[in-house]
Subunit: 196 residues, 2 copies
């Protein structure tokens, strides 16, 4: 039981991720989640206290995965150019999305449905995450790698483009995650470094 | 009355747009819309037959505005380079979003909440709209302006980045719509044309 309980909880979250991604958090009830798991709503409440609690688990885990991947990307490229750092950050971001697009999609689209306090915590973490991109872009501007005038708008433009992948990525699509990462790194570096 | 009725309906749609953008379509009830208009829910039903009907009006009008703006951009640049055509398409897209960010946000995020038949019609129109970008990108590849390998993924990347504006644009923000359009045209052209 000590082993089964967390994996049961994880299964609930995965099914909830899929439903939230497909029809949205607000349009999904605990009863819907129970039905998709083929259990009674009442028995689900032994594992979860509320729908918002399930959303929080999914969003918190996704945030931690994005943060860990970006941290590793930054450590691996600390001595490299801003271009290489951005390339590593983009590849890490794409990797997090393609390894669990349901979770990533809920993180991207549904975090605002969290209660006030949790929403504020996630807003802070999203800001800190975006700052990694903005700082790398600003460093690239300082080094002359990127001829841009506004690192904040460039970071917002870039991250929005990357997050779109959470909506359209399909495991059975025509492109593998690695090939998508190659394209996204290429497009991102062009966006920042390209001469116009 | 013949004059008042359409503007009353439009006011309902504008208030609904704001609520749908803020809290999502599924989480907004007809009662919420009535409350925001300071009328009784029952009196609202004299003007709208269902919440989905209001959503349809908003999404249909937004789609028509995007189509008209893109058509005008294409006509104005028919004899120009693919780069100029993309720049005009991007500027038109940004203009549609910044002139009514609430409507644009509902179009971008909530169209999937439409009933099956209407959703299919909007999916077709979205595909046709994206094709304008994909075709301009493919033309730029053929002319040697854009050194890309996959016009579909470049178009998806670009349109997602542009649509992010519907989420973060604020009329009282630090950048004017024209300045945002300048930045977005610059970033978009870099994305496609930049050498890496």
């Amino acid at each position: 039981m000590a082993i089964e309980a967390p994996s049961r909880r994880r299964r609930i979250e995965d099914v909830a991720s899929g439903l939230f991604r497909e029809r949205g958090y607000a349009a999904t009830s605990v009863r819907d989640i129970a039905r998709a798991l083929d259990v009674q709503g009442a028995s689900l409440y032994a594992h979860v206290t509320s729908k918002e609690d399930v959303l929080w688990s999914i969003v918190d885990r996704a945030a931690a995965r994005f943060e860990a991947a970006a941290g590793a990307a930054e450590r691996a490229t600390a001595a490299d150019s801003a271009t290489d750092r951005i390339a590593a950050l983009v590849r890490a971001h794409v990797g997090v999305i393609t390894s669990d697009p349901g979770e990533a999609s809920v993180f991207v689209h549904e975090w605002r449905a969290l209660g006030r306090e949790r929403r504020a915590r996630i807003a802070d973490r999203r800001d800190a995450y975006e700052r990694r991109f903005r700082d790398a872009i600003a460093d690239g501007m300082a080094s002359g790698e990127f001829a841009l005038t506004d690192p904040a708008i460039a970071a917002a433009f870039l991250l929005t483009a990357l997050n779109g992948l959470a909506t359209w990525f399909r495991r059975d699509g025509r492109l593998t995650p690695d090939r998508i990462a190659d394209h996204f790194v290429d497009l991102s570096v062009r966006t920042l470094a390209g001469a116009t």
